[in-house]
Subunit: 389 residues, 4 copies
């Protein structure tokens, strides 16, 4: 049997569930060097955290995250709290030499990310930033095609990450909609994913020009209107100001000469988790839509023009990245699986003493782009990444 | 905490993995009355079975399935062996009063299915036949639409279940390709699913006319050519006769007057697990493709003709059947999840002392259709279901 | 300038319009040896026919079709009347040595078609049967791929021709719904197209088994309910019996061993002119949907399995069949254009003294399949084509 | 019979063919007040122009376009020359009181367009600028839905007009690639269409930020390399500098608060005439792809969330805009048909003495946006439309 390794989960929300599911399954489907043990879970609310611990089988439950970091019997810390907590937690984890598995976005700014990257480097700890879409088999396969030269010189990245969950004016002023806790809206939440994918697949971005919009500028306070919203009513006594973007559209130059676009919005009706990209190169084109994440479209410009076309490839063959661990061709996987791919790679990296990507250093580069976008929007001009320090 | 309930797994192949994964997860995502415990796993090969037990955490491992059935500490038996073992196992399980969770197809004939249905009825045990596609949220939602009358009078079922995994002549003569162990080819393996869905969604079938074909009549024996095939070579010393269909196409009449088609094939290049159906009614139409199982297409004929069209509904809202247990809108689930839906329903049925569908009785009805198809093919004529006894 | 050639149009309905449009355009877009002249149009209703002549520029208008056939100044007769008139007209045209451009289906039976084929053969006149879909560029390109061996051995034809225009019970009892004038419903109207395509692309059919259904057995008489229907009312004093099928589903064996299906229906809500087919072979697969007639899907099984997928090829390159005569890549053509392709081929065949396909002989073979389908439905058994004489 | 009206065609290329086809057909399919007569065609090359006249039936052929404008027997002038000729021709046509049917883009700059709009206004002549996509039935229907309020408040326009015809470095330096004759690349050619559609469907644009790229900066001169290219060789003795963009990506603010994107490229492999847009509003969403121009996707956010989805509406019903003039539901039309719709509207406007859109005034507004995009690219900043005078 594999050696046991102890997991601390910091957070009990949607991501606490997604990460716990991943650690539960990773050793069943992948040949990993360690078998995860659910050691401790941290959450602010005791009742909620205790229930979470009971359901998932965490040995203990706590409201003190610093205590978790200090425990000797914790090997890996999973940071899945709100973004504004990431920096402090990563710094503390690094101090205690923990292996760090951190949700995205890395933090609130390039400045924060720089401190985090510095801290983990100094501590020499394994660190991973969970831009999970890199490990969707179709995306990993796209990367393989690009690395093999199947796209030739890349001319375009077209990225759109569209959702619609806050379109109702009755949706309350949660932490996602406040600058203090989220820094920005879809630019941060969704754009960080798109930028990570673009830099992973196409290369470094060198300059951007962006325009942001906030369509609904006031929303019911979570304490008042939120309850009303949850109850299906629209009355809202107290209102507060939305201090982030509802949408952010950006044009970008890549260092290699490619021209790209990034369109991030939470006001695109019918788009639920539409993380879509298109890449056009001299030898081939690729398109991907995360709502159909088991498929990749590829057009090979080196074929006879008569017979060229976008090919819909089902990325479920045993020879496709990660896919062999699961079911059979045509038997699709879902949102949760790329988390497990990351965990398998993470455990192997831990064993081998090697780094894993994306990590804090990659997160820092993403933040540089997003900070440039914010600056571009504010100043009404194109901003070079070299201006963000 | 929920009461513990003991699971015995009979089989360690693809389905052993799919079922174990399901029992592992069901109590994490659904509020079920019991918490599954991995008690014992049966497999013919000791080394394989022991490794399976170790990976999944089964307390014990055995090569004697009858002993499993007789154990007092087993509550639920999961039958995931080859089809020709189902009858004997179900009869033994019923004898010992076990709750039965059985893979499809139910067995080799209407005759076998009748014995099985009789046995579980007599024993009064909970029994479930795993035609998993009924619990794909999109299919369950289609059922809801139909039950609400959204399709009106149904005129057509068009079912196609297409795969391509045995198209190479070098694919060996496995148990799937022999009458003794599988009775038929895609007619049985895939057709049983399609017929189950059709009878679930449209109603009972009353008569069929079918033609079967075997395109590759001889294949390398598993011992000889199989190894060659696995090794990527095509030489094959010994060959044996394929005794099942490679494809079976059927037209069917439903008791309610609808006209249907069933096309089952393992020779449809590019179709991996293409379980596709279309239903046309006086008030609406539905289409579904399992390779995009998170989506359902619906056309509402009661809308203004100007604005009618097939609507692609992403079945991932918290209000859709089963979907609320998982992630968020647009965050898709995969092949493995409907198994877990069945397990949740199974545990609740067990608690409540109520039946669950599909079960042995439903399996019997499926077999009646498939036996009629075989007879139709052999006799070159339309066969009424009433002829199958 | 090209030599002038005189056209007689027999019929002024939907098809009169489609054919006139074709002759108007053919010499503008194709280098044809003759320039069509609109000589005379025949129609039963004088006012309608005169108006048609005026709009399209026919030199004269008549209610006597036999007179048209006898005219010396008519070179080509375009037969676009109801199906039950085809035989008599073709025989008369052949007698007078006219080149014949005839709408499908050829006639009401294999017997009629045999007489027609015999007559044109004896007269030695150029004759064409307008199964227009053969000359959709995507279909012609599919034929090219098949002829080049890109599909290898063909295992399956899956044809579905679905419409929904008579689903309302208020739709009146037009000539399409009566055995005397149409012989059958979608089996004849739509099935003749599908069978033509299947025999063109896959090969000869050898046996069929079919079930037909009539869902709405009585309809308002055209004189009474029809007016009500047109006026948007549903009252209908007089009713008559529908004597043809509303849907016909068929399984077919091909002489080369392939297994096929044909599903023809006018009760498939949302399907407007859904002439869809799929062909699966040992080396490749093809799918086509006429509602997106500028595209063809092709999967190449000889590629590395990792990168196989259905390719959506836009058939608008100048190198694709017929496409070079039109616009530019990605600038699509529509329903009317394949008629013009047939006319260009027809004029060239006339000049060269060569035959063109499909013709009366092909029509005869189509009728043999459809007659077998009718017999199969009536007798509840599989019918070999050799039984139809 | 309708009164005859005389057409002069200025240009014999791709657009000469498309326009001639339109005038040939308009009175056959629409009840228009005039019947077009092919009076005269102008072209620079006598042999080519004479052949064009013979093929299409123009009564005369000339190399002197000013003479055409001065002729008393010309009623309508069709301007289909290179863009740099438009201004001079429109001014001359206006001077002579001709009705003007002019291809897009209107001209080379906002300055030119202003002069043209002023001239036609002063002359009081009917003038139309052929942004043909407005009259694609699906686009006209989208406009209807928006005008009826079905989209509510519009938040986003996402426009992409992508092609790939100049991706080969061997493609020669034609007039499209030179600033003198085309002013810009896809920004002008494709972007003018997108901007027209956006302002038609969403509203006026108020500010833009754009980045342009030229990927291949030198190309073979038409005299040298072009011949080589046409001959399938890649040698190219003489080369010249490309002085326009190969791609232009832009973010735009609309006066009504919407945020939009425009992505125009000739370097998007596999995209042939991919004029694609998406519009997101508070009550609904729309998507359109011109390569499937007979379809429109609509999502209605006012439906129950359970059953919301993008509906693929086939815009071929007789009640859809323009569609009733053609064939039958599901029988699609193509690239050429919207030209004919414009001609029908143009003839009716001429009869009624009413304006038609888009016209020179609309063209002026389009140019303002495109000039702002050029300025934004040059100055690396967001440019307000009010800056362009």
């Amino acid at each position: 049997m594999a050696k046991k390794i102890n997991i601390a989960m910091l957070g009990t929300g949607f991501m606490g569930k997604a990460h716990s599911n991943g650690w539960l399954k990773v050793a069943k489907f992948f040949d990993v060097p360690y078998e995860p043990v659910f050691k401790v879970v941290f959450g602010r609310n005791k009742a909620v955290t205790d229930a979470f611990a009971a359901r998932w089988g965490y040995e203990s439950s706590t409201q003190d995250w610093k205590e978790v970091m200090a425990r000797d019997d914790v090997d890996i810390v999973c940071i899945v709290t709100t973004t504004n907590m990431h920096k402090e937690m990563v710094l503390e984890a690094a101090k205690h030499g923990k292996a760090i598995f951190c949700e995205k976005p890395i933090g609130l700014s390039y400045q924060e990310a720089s401190e985090m990257a510095e801290a983990v480097k100094k501590a020499g700890v394994l660190n991973y930033l969970n831009h999970n879409y890199r490990r969707v088999p179709a995306v990993a396969y796209a990367k393989k095609l690009i690395d093999e030269g199947k796209l030739g010189t890349i001319y375009h990245w077209r990225g759109a990450y569209l959702q619609d969950w806050i379109m109702s004016p009755d949706f309350p002023l949660t932490w996602h909609l406040q600058k203090e806790t989220a820094n920005a809206g879809p630019l941060w939440d969704l754009g960080s994913h798109s930028v990570d994918l673009a830099q992973f697949l196409v290369g470094d971005i060198s300059a951007v020009t962006a325009i942001n919009k906030t369509f609904i500028t006031e929303r019911p306070l979570p304490g008042s209107g939120a309850a009303a919203f949850a109850a299906g009513k629209s009355e809202s006594s107290g209102k507060g100001k939305v201090t982030v973007d509802d949408a952010s559209f950006m044009v970008a130059e890549f260092a290699n000469g490619a021209l790209g676009s990034f369109e991030n919005s939470r006001f695109s009706g019918g788009r639920k988790n539409y993380n879509n990209f298109e890449i056009y190169g001299s030898k081939g084109s690729i398109t991907f839509n995360n709502e159909r994440m088991n498929e990749l479209q590829f057009l090979n410009r080196e074929e006879d023009p008569d017979i060229q076309g976008f090919k819909d490839i089902m990325i479920t063959e045993s020879t496709h990245p990660y896919a062999g661990a699961w079911w059979a061709p045509g038997h699709i996987i879902g949102y949760e699986h790329p988390f497990i791919h990351a965990m398998a790679d993470f455990l192997n990296a831990l064993k081998d003493g090697k780094p894993i990507n994306p990590n804090m250093e990659d997160g820092k580069k993403i933040m540089q782009v997003l900070d440039a976008a914010l600056k571009s929007n504010e100043e009404g001009r194109k901003v070079a990444l070299s201006e963000i320090k």
